[in-house]
Symmetry: C2
Subunit: 190 residues, 2 copies
């Protein structure tokens, strides 16, 4: 991916996290990314193109920061990966707010649904893969439904994140609740 393209998408995530999807206008994005509007049209065709690419970019950003873990144990990696979505750093907060906002917008803008679904599926699959590895190493019961467990845990992360960003839940409490949910899910003996 070209450096300029990445620069524009980084700015797009920042603008969406600050002002919502409706705040993302090409002129504003050009100013935030310090590029010309022509370059944005060249890379993304139109505003919809920017939003679709921003969804993918959010996924790459999240994969990058949730991969930062020292442990090789798959079960611990599931825990780390999910808890890293609830962190008080600018990067995580920005990524998480932008992701929630794009998700909420897709309710009213059907053209966002396909890229949203693809990004959600990709995240679910990452968690599911780690759960299966944990099953192979014997730290998670072999009969556990890895697909459903991954779906429930990622949906819970989304629910908790939105409560955090909208001020109904402190970050600490969100992390506590997620930690106990992960334990409950991964300790299940179906």
């Amino acid at each position: 991916m070209s450096e300029r393209r990445t620069q524009i998408l980084e700015a797009a995530v920042r603008v969406i996290a600050q002002d919502g999807v409706r705040g993302l206008r090409i002129e504003k994005l050009a100013a935030a990314a310090e590029v010309s509007t022509a370059l944005i049209y060249y890379h993304f065709k139109d505003r919809a193109g920017v939003l679709h690419a921003a969804l993918e970019h959010i996924n790459h950003r999240a994969q990058a920061y949730t991969d930062h873990t020292d442990t090789a144990d798959p079960r611990s990696r599931v825990e780390h990966m999910l808890l890293l979505e609830l962190q008080d750093t600018d990067e995580v907060r920005e990524t998480s707010i932008a992701w929630g906002e794009l998700r909420a917008s897709a309710v009213f803008h059907p053209d966002l649904r396909d890229p949203l679904q693809a990004t959600t599926r990709s995240w679910n699959t990452d968690v599911e893969t780690l759960i299966r590895q944990a099953q192979q190493t014997g730290t998670v019961h072999p009969a556990l439904d890895a697909v459903a467990t991954a779906e429930r845990l990622t949906a819970l992360v989304e629910g908790l994140s939105e409560r955090w960003h909208s001020g109904s839940l402190t970050l600490d409490r969100a992390r506590q609740l997620l930690t106990s949910a992960i334990e409950l899910e991964l300790n299940a003996t179906p």
Copy 2:
């Protein structure tokens, strides 16, 4: 509550579910509710007043439809109450979309946070109360943390609902995932 006031709030929920919070303009609401704009200002003072009252009204609507259950057993009532949030009826879909939209808007509009938090707390308390009753009747382990369980389950309902409305999850799958989460949570033996 006056009949006219209810009529306006019903229309507000409908308009928010159709066009989002930004689509809620007083003129449009007046047309949808078939009342004068003056009556809206009389009851709610301004647009912010409408949004705050709409949040409360959503809570009443949800309480009304989630109370429809034949069973007296508290544990079954927890299950029913939560699953009734994932139903394919106009009323539930509309309430749920409007609730998600107000929640998402509160990320960018801090003045919505207090009423959102109050509504969330009220919902959590309803679920928590039923869980405590289930603990008294012996269908749920007495050492289970009713507060945390209620918070996790309602946050999961929100996460699943938003995936449903934004097209990443079918309603059937959302109900399956919620059913298994409820079972896992309420069967826990801490």
